[in-house]
């Protein structure tokens, strides 16, 4: 079994923490993993993405071929669309529905949402949910929770455990807040 995942968003939105957690769960489960990140210049408010490949067999390329991605996990709806040619026949887009407009020529929001609605997708206002939970920093964990049932090669429970492991050194309160956000994401995606 293999799962190819693209994580994306705008520099500073916290996609790499999601990658770290999936990486921890995969390592713990003994599943092979390759995770390619973008560092350097594009982190400054530009588009960022990470290719995450999970498999029970050897993974060759660090990058995912065109038309083969199983899940696009995005912190921003237009960024999800950027990787559309990589999405596979059974692929799904899991994204925050809230736009992040820091460029003058951002597309028309209604048209963008309509295009996204025609694709296999799960969308939520993750920032609002995180704010409701009084934990605005854990919006990315809401997103991970939403995506968790689609990752399949790792169970929701394995991912949940990795959330607590990764945040453990930040103290119990931070772990609890992030688990709560993760659980809300899982619930909401059902």
């Amino acid at each position: 079994m293999k799962k190819d995942i693209i994580l994306c968003g705008v520099g500073g939105q916290g996609i790499l923490s999601i990658a770290t957690i999936i990486g921890e769960a995969a390592t713990e489960a003994g599943i092979q993993l390759k995770q390619a990140e973008v560092h350097g210049m594009s982190q400054r408010g530009g588009d960022v993405q990470s290719n995450l490949r999970l498999s029970t067999d050897t993974i060759w390329s660090d990058q995912i071929p065109t038309g083969q991605t199983d899940v696009i996990i995005s912190m921003e709806p237009m960024e999800a669309l950027r990787y559309l040619p990589y999405l596979g026949p059974k692929g799904v887009i899991v994204t925050s529905s809230k736009t992040f407009v820091n460029i003058p020529n951002y597309p028309d929001e209604a048209a963008l949402k309509a295009e996204l609605a025609d694709l296999p997708n799960v969308q939520l206002e993750i920032e609002e949910i995180a704010a409701e939970l009084k934990s605005p920093k854990s919006a990315n964990m809401v997103l991970l929770g939403m995506a968790a049932p689609y990752i399949e090669i790792l169970s929701v429970e394995q991912l949940r455990k990795a959330v607590s492991v990764i945040f453990a050194r930040k103290g119990e309160a931070v772990v609890e807040a992030n688990l709560k956000a993760f659980d809300r994401g899982v619930e909401a995606a059902k």
């Binding site: 705008v10 993993l33 390759k34 995770q35 408010g45 060759w60 694709l119």
Partner: protein, 540 residues
């Protein structure tokens, strides 16, 4: 055996630590930065007292590593590909002096120029200096090779170049860890004739270096990561030859694993140079055509062509089977092998590029706002830029820069333009770039009394690569004065919106002054300021 999830860069770093490293010497540069950062924060490296502070530039790094090697210890030098140009003098000559303790020079190439101004291939430098080159195909090899590279360096008494590319440097995978070796003892060389490159000595050393080429080739034959792999898909299919270098090998295997071909493939995997020529000849006997798959420039393709003669069909980047420029990826390699990864969905309609930009609240922004206002007042004003976050001043909304070429070129280009009669000739350079390669240019300008205005935009850090220490911290005025800039024309301002009238007036005054003036807008990078605040809060 212990397994750890490591970036390619981190695998290189840990491999070096476990190979008995005594010192790492480096200047930050994407995609190489994480190697040195890993060693700086790694517990084992601290326990082993491995020297790891950032250097002023790649040349000082290379030379210090050579000094450590002279004393019998193992040293690693890390840089991005264009850093090789900066240290080239020391690097090429280190092959002539030879080394005592092992020296590995790690160059991180950036095909597709994700964060760079060119996509030069560092393997050329290996050929040029006539030293072995290692090119790992994955994180495990990057870790394992570090130890082998140091061993080979000490066996041949020559530096070894290791080349990685962005997609390996910045990709994570599990790596099996082995037992760490002890560091070498202090054992300074007593052989002056090798280290003093007077012509008489250099000629003899160079003859020795040429003599060693056979041993280097033998090392390539002996390397178990240089391998011949046969993949048979059907009895009917013909045999096709592939020379797959470094991570190019992964893309070949990815394509073949898709099962979309009936052809059979013989693959020569190359991860160590000189190119294993016998393997290439063997491949040519098995197949009627060879595709060379290499990330970066067509280094091996050229060699294979020469080796097999004009009659043998060699395909690759030079023949258009693979793209001439840009990095390899699973799609273009599959296409080169006669397969196609077809998209299910077309490119989205509602999409716009989102280029990087200066952070909101960044001091460089205030510098460009002030410059924009003042420059309008002069008909022929030109602002020569440099390498760093502030290069983003070339993009909208500022569109401020006339040039950006290499580290330090802002000052020297402004000087040359002033020599040609341009006025005002303005340079914008960051603090770390100034100490890296700007100081010598400033001395030239002072000695010529050139009519230039130089802005050292000081954010107290090396910002673009993630906030590493800046070599000249708190020394900028002293450096400028020491180089002979008139004390009345070294001005410091604080780049904040509220100070705009003062900054713009200072700019006007110094542009109107006929001679060298330096303006230093100084305010900490907001990213490092936030990090320092968090660290301080943690300590309390």
């Amino acid at each position: 055996m212990e397994k750890r999830l490591l970036l390619g860069d981190e695998a290189v770093a840990l491999g070096a630590i476990h190979a008995g490293l005594s010192g790492v010497y480096a200047y930050p540069g994407t995609p190489s930065t994480e190697i040195t950062e890993f060693i700086q924060t790694n517990k084992e490296a601290k326990e082993r007292n491995i020297r790891s502070r950032w250097c002023t530039n790649e040349k000082t790094a290379m030379e210090a590593a050579l000094g450590m090697s002279y004393c019998g210890k193992r040293a690693l030098v890390c840089m991005k590909h264009v850093g090789m140009n900066v240290c080239a003098d020391a690097f090429v000559n280190s092959a002539v002096t030879g080394v005592n303790g092992g020296v590995v020079v790690l160059a991180a190439d950036d095909p597709s120029m994700h964060s760079s101004q060119n996509e030069q291939d560092s393997r050329f430098y290996g050929k040029f200096a006539m030293v072995p080159v290692f090119e790992p195909s994955n994180q495990q090899e990057a870790y394992d090779m570090m130890s082998r590279a140091f061993d080979l360096s000490e066996k041949l008494h020559e530096p070894v170049l290791m080349r990685v590319v962005t997609r390996l440097a910045h990709s994570r995978a599990a790596v099996e860890i082995r037992q760490a070796k002890q560091q070498n003892a202090l054992n300074p060389s007593t052989d002056n004739s090798h280290w003093v490159l007077l012509p008489g000595n250099a000629r003899r050393n160079y003859a020795e270096l040429i003599q060693k080429q056979g041993d280097m080739l033998q090392a390539s034959y002996d390397a178990e990561t240089n391998d011949m792999i046969s993949i048979s898909n059907s009895d009917k299919g013909s045999w096709k030859g592939v020379v797959a270098c470094g991570i190019g090998y992964n893309y070949v295997r990815e394509a073949l694993a898709s099962g979309a071909t009936d052809d059979n493939f013989a693959i020569l995997k190359v991860t160590q140079y000189p190119l294993p020529e016998d393997g290439v000849r063997q491949l040519a006997q098995m197949c009627s055509e060879i595709l060379v798959v290499e990330d970066g420039q067509p280094v091996v393709e050229d060699d294979v062509k020469k080796l097999l003669g004009a009659d043998f069909k060699v395909e690759g980047r030079l023949t258009g089977r693979l793209p001439r420029a840009g990095e390899l990826n699973p799609d273009n390699v599959a296409l080169g092998l006669g397969m196609e990864n077809k998209p299910v969905y077309d490119t989205a309609k509602n999409l716009a590029p989102r280029p990087p930009q200066l952070c909101q609240g960044c001091g460089h922004r205030d510098v460009y706002t002030a410059l924009g206002e003042v420059v309008k007042e002069y008909e022929n004003a030109r602002v020569f830029g440099d390498i760093g976050c502030y290069t983003l001043g070339a993009l909208p909304p500022f569109k401020a820069l006339a040039s950006c070429v290499d580290m330090g070129a802002s000052i020297t280009m402004a000087k040359g333009a002033a020599d040609a009669g341009l006025w005002p000739a303005i340079a914008v350079i960051g603090d770390s770039t100034f100490t890296h390669s700007g100081m010598t240019g400033l001395l030239d300008a002072v000695n010529d009394n050139s009519n230039v205005t130089i802005i050292i935009s000081d954010n107290l850090t090396t910002g673009m690569t993630g906030g590493q220490d800046s070599a000249g911290l708190n020394k900028y005025e002293a450096i400028c004065l020491g180089l002979g800039v008139d004390p009345d024309h070294v001005k410091v301002v604080v780049p904040l919106p509220k100070n705009m009238p003062e900054i713009t007036q200072t700019l006007r005054d110094e542009i109107n002054y006929k001679g060298v003036s330096v303006i230093i807008p100084r305010r900490e990078c907001i990213q490092t300021a936030a990090r320092h605040a968090r660290e301080k809060a943690k300590k309390q």
